[in-house]
Symmetry: C2
Subunit: 494 residues, 2 copies
């Protein structure tokens, strides 16, 4: 206890007392004055020692916990965590920098006007059918008046569910309207499934790399994530079976077509076997279909849901990539026996999705404008896709590996060993080109040698220009300079 | 184990195997063949015995768990629960009736065209400023084009946060724009705070009765809820302090003005002491302000957030009651140190709220149309409020207690002992009048002697007509008939 006597909080300083206390304890942890496993004094004891309010201590402990420096055991107290080197990198930073969480750590990125943006996997504003959508919005308002602004049924506006049922039927999925659940975007779908299926301590299996937003949702439930490295045709099923046997997971989260970030697709055979395997062990599958419509060269584009006789697949469909992300609309096709649980999760999350936007989308789909827009997007994206393949062939230095997808918007690259895409990023961004460093897609935030280029938000000229700049930097980086060791990446706080 | 031999699943029957298995086990539980604490066979063992897939057993066990008939211990197995009598009522029901969860159990209610609706606390469609909102929607689309449909910043559209900062300043809350978080309705706010603050096993204190949607959100996090009975001027602070000392809760959830469902408001003195108490013990407060703007006769309408020097109050503001519920828009004023955690929770939940609707609301607020609409709503609601008070005085039978609020839209009643508002409901609904039975607002789903009448969705004529019908039924029920014992209410599945 003695060491705490050296902490002196100063009420007259500009800085909040809890920040002062947080910093003092942090220094003790990083300076090894407090060791791994040491218990911090209970809140009331500490507040007496420091002559401050309990709330000051609580807040200080919370920031420490948030930074992973300490952890709580229920009913027992607060303990110093096992430390990793990276933590030290933060030292000295002002901590009102709760606010300085970098955007990229949250799966966001700041794009300046003049940047060439290979980082975003969502289409840019000029591709949106604004005028057509404005028309249907106004028609809905004239037709439904105030009813467009009332609460909508939790499961979603019935006519919209009806027409979405017809939409998925085109992709081989035959379902009842009752098994379609409207969601405020695919991320909400993932969150709802997590709420419905996962309790504290449950296991989830994911592909590695995968979509960070899904990992965050699982972790938020207190679930434990097992990641299995992707192969070029999907997950290795032998490894998957072993992991299922070992961990008895509740859920498998996958993107079987044009996976994000790798662009990898499963073969039809693998899809079938995967389904069989999960049926055998009673593992639910969340199939995240974020853009299988954008298929240019694959003949193997079937989804899992269409083969789901055992009703173990939750099919989550986003409109963000193929339509407009800001609508925050998507839907799920769910197993009948999850109906009640998912509806309750929806109610707990946001009651229902905006009725106005649901009604407008329904009218938009009914008009057939949708199919037209989809063909337009496909054409646009395929031009970019071909252009990107062309640029890779012409400009990408030898030594950089690439997985060539057959559709979608993402390309996945690997730098030669021990070169870091984060370091590359810092060079390239100075020339106004941005992309997504690979570590962002890994559970352990490692594997910095990978990176993702997306063609969703760049036109043909930008692809040409951007690839020239990027590849020049890669060339100079891997051919003229010492490789940098891994480990220096930003840590995600989630 | 022997008893399971009597189960015979028939693959050729129309019913799914998992339903057949579920029913068979349910009968064994209800028939006391399986006793409290008995362990069900592990999934693989059971599937061998029954000669079915694992997934069939998993699904059957899940439905049993969902119905509270069995529970799981992590890493140990599935056990028969302590049973309550009510469970038996469900027996014999078809269980594809996952789908038949009654609406009211989800905090919803089905309203027919010709019904007098005292049940809904949200305004009806004819009160919405549809034309004005249509105008700003179109202006936004013409001005921002595709950008209105791009992803919005997770924290919310900046100009909207700016103008909301000015809005709350009118109510005494001075905050930085950085501490305003846009949410897709107040329910999402509650969900985000739960995600940010609550882990498995944490304690939350709530008022009793309270808003069911909040309880569901806390329970979904695995938190434990302590409810404290409300007094006519708010929570008893001595009891509160004792509960805080005993349970060390993370969060207190309250509605200090015109509480839902009771209409109770805290005195200014009590608000101050409450804040002091929670500061002392380091307990965060979630202040749910769903309609303090609708103040007709109170002089004591201050909020907690305006006195929140220690930054422990999360102020959650809904627009559903005073504007339009279907927009799914609200906001929070948060303590600076929760900024990062709430933003991450938002990202995990739905990335961001619809940009189009945020931009339209910003323009609507900027035009000043808002203040005009608010005055209109206040006037409308006050007329109804006065009318309701008048009808209570004229028609409500002696023996029924009522708490008279000074604002808002809710009135809270108590039938004489052992009379059930659920029974009353079943009588009154036949005459096309509906209201909210009180048990829906309690954690234990008891206290059926209470009920709530709301004036949000009824006009003056409907109030007069509806109250006559309702009070006639009450009179005949409590004066001519045997009281009904409690315990027969519908159980919530949450």
């Amino acid at each position: 206890m003695e060491s705490y006597e050296n902490i002196h909080l100063n009420k007259r300083e500009g800085q909040h007392l809890y920040i002062q206390l947080y910093k003092a304890i942090k220094e003790m942890v990083l300076g090894d004055v407090l060791k791994e496993g040491d218990r911090l004094p209970p809140v009331r004891k500490m507040s007496k020692m420091m002559e401050v309010n309990n709330v000051t201590v609580v807040k200080a402990y919370e920031i420490l916990e948030q930074e992973g420096l300490v952890y709580k055991k229920i009913g027992s107290g607060t303990y110093v965590s096992h430390r990793e080197k990276e933590i030290k990198d933060n030292l000295g930073e002002e901590v009102d920098s709760n606010k300085k969480i970098t955007l990229m750590e949250q799966g966001q990125i700041k794009i300046e006007e003049n940047m060439i943006n290979f980082a975003s996997a969502t289409p840019s504003a000029e591709l949106f059918p604004v005028e057509d959508f404005k028309k249907v919005l106004n028609e809905v308002l004239d037709r439904d008046k105030g009813y467009a602004f009332g609460y909508q049924e939790g499961q979603g506006y019935y006519p919209l569910r009806q027409i979405l049922g017809e939409y998925v039927a085109q992709y081989g999925i035959n379902t009842e309207i009752d098994n379609i659940q409207i969601i405020s975007g695919a991320q909400q779908g993932i969150d709802l499934v997590s709420k419905a299926l996962l309790s504290y301590g449950d296991y989830v299996i994911i592909e590695s790399p995968s979509y960070t937003g899904a990992m965050a949702a699982f972790q938020s439930r207190g679930a434990k994530i097992i990641d299995i490295p992707l192969q070029e045709d999907g997950l290795n099923l032998d490894i998957l079976e072993k992991k299922i046997q070992a961990y008895n997971p509740k859920l498998l989260y996958i993107m079987p077509n044009f996976q994000n970030p790798t662009g990898i697709s499963y073969t039809q055979e693998k899809k079938e076997k995967l389904l069989e395997l999960c049926s055998k062990y009673g593992v639910y599958i969340m199939e995240d279909d974020y853009l299988s419509e954008l298929n240019y060269y694959s003949e193997d584009i079937g989804n899992l849901k269409q083969m789901d006789d055992e009703e173990i697949v939750v099919y989550v469909k986003s409109f963000s990539k193929i339509f407009m992300p800001g609508l925050r609309l998507g839907f799920m096709v769910i197993p009948g026996n999850l109906h009640g649980r998912l509806l309750r999760a929806k109610h707990t999350s946001d009651i229902s999705t905006s009725g106005l936007l649901q009604r407008a989308l329904e009218l938009y789909l009914k008009r057939g404008t949708w199919q037209e827009h989809l063909r337009y997007m496909e054409k646009k994206y395929q031009e970019r896709f071909d252009k990107m393949n062309d640029c890779i062939q012409r400009y990408m230095p030898t030594g950089v590996e690439v997985i060539k997808p057959k559709g979608g918007v993402n390309f996945w690259f690997k730098l030669p060993n021990n070169y870091s895409s984060q370091t590359l990023y810092e060079k390239v961004v100075k020339d106004n080109v941005v992309f997504a460093p690979g570590n962002l897609f890994y559970l352990d935030n490692q594997h910095g040698e990978y990176f993702r280029l997306s063609i969703a938000a760049v036109n043909l000229i930008e692809i040409e220009t951007g690839m020239k700049i990027l590849c020049r930097h890669i060339d100079s980086y891997i051919n003229n300079q010492e490789p940098i060791n891994r480990g220096s990446f930003i840590k995600p706080i989630l």
